[in-house]
């Protein structure tokens, strides 16, 4: 299976050009797109996540790896869709109402995509209504919310309450994160899970869809 380790290395090292050209080469050689994703790209992003977790990688390394991953995925995704391959799960993600910090959220989005999820990124300052609409339209499995301000943390609580009222809370699992968020807070507001980094987000999402 070590044929396309060049793809693994390119993603890990954030070499977007190589990632794209190796992908082209592999596809031209008739490699199954699903194999490229499962055997090279996802493991590479998992390793990126491990290194980030261990503080060996930081935001810049994670971002360039994500860019390389996206470049390659851009070529593969249309083929996957065409052949009816389902993502590991669908995640609706956004920074909550009142908050515009999006770098952490963007990293979470990248890691989740790299982990085989389909991510619907609603952007920043996302109201409860927008979350609800997206849950319905996208038939999402998971809602992921990010907040970086202590003053916008209550928006998470409000959103969960609104999901309850709209009757869609049962359709989804909720995970939350961002620098001021704690496990206690997640429990307090009735979220299903909390993640302290973009790397842990993937493991959590995997658990949430499995349960």
């Amino acid at each position: 299976m070590s044929e396309w380790t060049k793809l693994y290395d390119a993603v890990l090292n954030g070499d977007a050009d190589t990632a794209r050209s190796v992908t082209d080469e592999a596809l031209a050689a008739g490699t199954d797109p699903q194999t490229l994703v499962n055997d090279y790209m996802i493991p590479a992003m998992d390793e990126v996540g491990r290194r980030f977790e261990a503080n060996d990688f930081f935001v810049p390394e994670l971002l360039i790896a994500a860019r390389a991953m996206k470049g390659a995925l851009g070529k593969i995704r249309p083929l996957l869709t065409a052949s009816g391959v389902k993502p590991k799960g669908r995640v609706v993600l956004g920074t909550v109402k009142g908050d515009l910090h999006d770098i952490g959220k963007n990293l979470v989005a990248a890691m989740l995509e790299g982990g085989g999820f389909e991510v619907i990124d609603l952007g920043v300052d996302v109201s409860a209504e927008k979350f609800i609409e997206a849950i319905r339209d996208e038939s999402a499995d998971i809602v992921a919310m990010s907040a970086l301000l202590t003053t916008t943390m209550p928006s998470m609580k409000n959103t969960i309450e609104a999901l309850n009222e709209a009757g869609v809370r049962g359709n989804v699992k909720i995970m939350i994160g961002g620098a001021p968020i704690t496990r206690e807070y997640a429990e307090e507001i009735g979220a299903d899970s909390y993640g302290d980094s973009a790397a842990t987000a993937v493991g959590i999402a995997r658990k949430l869809v499995a349960s």
Binding site: N55, F58, V59, P60, G98, H101, I103, T150, T151, P180
Partner: protein
Amino acid sequence: MENSVLIRLRPLDKTIPVPAGTPLANALFAEGVEFPCGGRGRCKGCRVRVLEGRLPAFPGERRLLGDSRVNAGWRLSCRHRAESDLTLELAQWEAAVLGDNTDFIFSPRPGCGIAVDVGTTTLVAQLVDLENGNVLAVRSGLNRQARFGADLMSRIEFSMTFEGRTTLTNLIRKQLAELVRDLLAAAGPEKAERVNRMILVGNTAMHHLFGGLNTEPLSRYPFETQATGTLRFDAGRLGWNGLPAGCPVVFLPCIGGFVGSDILAGLLAVGFDRREKPGVFLDLGTNGEVVVGNRSRMVCASTAAGPAFEGARITMGMRASTGAIAEVVPCAKSWRCRVIGDVDPRGICGSGLVDAVAAGLDLGMILPNGRFAHGGKNWVLSSPVQLHQCDIRELQLAKGAIAAGAKILMRANDIRPRNLTDVFMAGAFGNYLRLDSALRIGLLPFPDKALRPSGNTALLGAKISLFAENPESACESLRKRVVHVSLSQDPGFQDTFVEEMTFPGKPATSRASPPEKAEKL
């Protein structure tokens, strides 16, 4: 006192009697201990170590602090009460306060005036003789509102709770009244009678809380408040009896949601309002404000660096006080640390952090991407104080945010860094942080010769305003020339921020001569 218990504080060597059951937060706050998250048990900033006595951990404390800390006696003081005698070691110490004694040019006026810098953390007030510019008395103190949140957002959050705003408004007015009383007492009755104006400056939240205005708009996007204007009170109405009746108490206007009159005053203090050539004004606090431009147009943004430069969110971080490593200098293939107070080191403050990383880069121990070169997770600076990998990451975020903010503003306004002749640095820069180190880590993307450490420019600007014919209209007219932009709206922020998280690879050219003094006004 019926049923009173004794709290002994180490290393302050102080004993305070309190009624049994007193919340530790109340007892310790009076001694200058801060509660960064406002006593919500979130930040661990107020931890104390129980040396003698009993203070059982509350449920969840082990998870917050970790087993080993709790076993070693560490507790979150915000969540405990003194039920019996205790001996506690404090994790933090008093903050350093920055006064001002810069010379400036003024036209004499009759009487005396009071200038106050109302900081989120500290208050500094000066009583000035307006006839000759002499400072007759200085008083300072920790802002007592800090009991309800050390950083601005926690304070704003508290002000939105039931009666929170009234509590904070009353606290600040009462503390200012005391400062005024002390200033007047120090200067003597003859001068006290002649006080005819008092000018306050501070950030927008301080402005709103002093005025008793609604802070809710400051809590979330778009952070815009309508009430940015000058606040004008009558000393009598505030109940500040020491001041002559009718003496106006004026809080100067804000520029925008996160940029207050402290910055306006700073611009006045360094003469930015009279510059033809483009310049930069930087105020390095938790919120790091940047202004670029010249007299006709100034563009300003706040960069939200966070408190790393104050030693917060750093594993062994502490304020610049006894026991803090404040300086790290490379020497030969090794390094030397200077500890405040010549005692054994117990932590590292902001200047030490910046120095340590600069030294680590020079010694090849830290790579430009922020990693320890040899793959380790920490560096023992001077036992037991270590710099951890995650501390460097924290510094990369803070430094990246400031450098990115400055670069984006310069780019948007066609200012080339290398053409800059003056970069005025207020607050911690040059006073606490060493410029060489700040340059080495890429915190200051400017030519070294342009750097002008300018001290407490907020206080100086307030003082200059005391001499103005009409301080309010002078400030209002300056304010009209300052445009506030929000970096969150900038699509290029993320890329520039991420770029700036990396440290420069080669040592910046070492500075040939010490910086000249800030130009005299």
